[in-house]
């Protein structure tokens, strides 16, 4: 009798504590997400205001909605060419990184060879290398070979950290593919290149997508090297923005709009890679 009573109370207390716990979770997540989104919201909010409104009145949402800031950016070549330049070197970099990383990652995931561990470690150190250390040497290297202020210079410079990143991520995905598949294909008379393109690459398609996404992202967010290696013709949007801050310092609406536009590429594809974000940042592990 007493035992039944005690179990029933413990059960009811368990239920009572379960209900607020669910709410507690929701509250924590809501608070955290609000903390994350508030600064971004503020940027979007500002990009939709006129400069006069930004400076004169303080409001939580635009009183007179305007898209003029976006129009300014999208019609002025010195602004929108920044986006074009960034996109060009980012795409070049992603293509180079993925195409050289694919065979290398395959080698690391399937074979042991002389010095493989050292090489793998050396690649990691390059992902971790501070861009500040490389800024000046890169500047001199690319100036001396006449590549300064070209898209290819920035794309090559970003290979420093993106190629190791791509190798590590792809290796993480490839180790999940059983080796029997390779062996069966070879028995079936596939040559290595044909096997790799026809059979293996479709199997790790999601891995290639994730690696490409992260190469794109890390090249897109980097400023120090891309700013150092360009002056006019290949100037990235990031550098265009910093110049405007220091020079005029007043056109907040346009600055905010430019910032919002740099978030767009990430925001567009983030849904597709949502389950791989942790894996990508952790270099293909996890």
């Amino acid at each position: 009798m007493s035992m039944a009573a005690s179990t029933s109370t413990s059960a009811s207390s368990g239920r009572a504590s379960a209900l607020p716990k669910v709410n507690g979770r929701a509250v924590v997540m809501t608070l955290y997400l609000v903390f994350l989104l508030l600064p971004i919201y503020w940027l979007v909010n500002m990009s939709l205001k006129t400069n006069a409104e930004i400076l004169s009145t303080f409001s939580l949402w635009p009183q007179e909605l305007t898209f003029r800031n976006y129009a300014t950016i999208l019609t002025d070549p010195s602004w929108y060419m920044g986006y074009v330049n960034s996109l060009i070197y980012v795409v070049i970099n992603t293509v180079i990184s993925i195409s050289v990383a694919l065979p290398a990652a395959y080698a690391f995931s399937r074979y042991t060879f002389l010095g493989d561990k050292h090489l793998f470690f050396w690649l990691l150190t390059n992902r971790m290398a501070p861009p500040a250390v490389f800024a000046l040497p890169f500047f001199q290297l690319y100036s001396s070979v006449g590549l300064f202020d070209t898209h290819i210079a920035v794309a090559l410079a970003h290979c420093l950290f993106n190629v190791p990143l791509a190798v590590w991520i792809l290796e993480g995905f490839m180790r999940g593919v059983p080796k029997e598949i390779d062996e069966t294909a070879y028995i079936d008379g596939y040559s290595f290149p044909r096997f790799f393109v026809k059979i293996f690459m479709p199997l790790i398609a999601s891995g290639i997508g994730v690696a490409a996404f992260f190469c794109f992202m890390f090249s897109w967010v980097e400023l120090l090297l891309s700013r150092t290696l360009t002056s006019v013709d290949a100037k990235p949007i990031a550098a265009t923005m910093t110049r405007t801050v220091s020079a005029s310092g007043l056109d907040w609406g346009v600055l905010a709009a430019a910032g919002v536009l740099t978030i767009v590429p990430g925001a567009l594809v983030i849904y597709f890679v949502r389950n791989y974000i942790a894996k990508g940042f952790a270099l293909g592990r996890v």
Binding site: A132, P178, A256
Partner: protein, 291 residues
Amino acid sequence: MEKTVNHKAWFLVLPVLVLVAFSAVVPLMTVVNYSVQDTFGNNEFFWAGLEWFDEMLNSQRMWDALGRQLAFSAIILAIEVPLGIFVALNMPKKGFWASVCLVLMALPLLIPWNVVGTIWQIFGRVDIGLLGYTLDKLGIPYNYTQDFFAAWATVIIMDVWHWTSLVALLAYAGLQSIPDAYYQATKIDQASRWAVFRFIELPKMQGVLMIAILLRFMDSFMIYTEPFVVTGGGPGNSTTFLSIDLVKMALGQFDLGPAAAFSIMYFLVILLISWVFYTVMTNLDKRETGR
């Protein structure tokens, strides 16, 4: 997976080797070259031996920057790791809301670093930013360009905002790998919430947490863009971290020798941490395959 010995695999690695060597070894050799030479302009260089290293090791400026750097890294780790774990524990396990959380949490991670700086620069301004304005109206003096404390607070909150999600996402990935049977067992044993965390969730998250901590330490150790945009290293030198100081020295003042010596020492520290990271990674891989 059993790997076959195949030295011909070198041919598959060769393109990567050539490319990364071109963009890593050549510049690094330039740095080494500068670090042992002195110049009076006109591209004439003199052997200077270890003079620059000696000078940098005795330079108050570098030790100050290093001190600030370590303080910064320690503070953000102390905030981001517990907060990230806490958030991960509270995330929905699956379904629609899990996706929503994943997408929204990843958003700050994908914003260009200088835009992160710009966002917080605006957000913290007393006249037009929500944070600065609110603090000002509450009567709290807040000016991140003048006040030492406000500058540090802004830079730290910005980093917490920017990167806590990374820790949370990694911890979440670790939590996802815990089989349901474990939780059922804890229910049967009537384990307390703390016991579940301490003896089941934390050990299972250990590997990913190590990765998260090392990644965060590494990236905070070479932080440049965000504080540069927000505070420009100021007020005074109070938020001048190692990378900011290095760039100032190398590209601003063109002090090639000291900057190169600085770079090499900086790089050696990174090399050391990389090695720890690599060891953790390979141990994790071994545990995975040994399962």
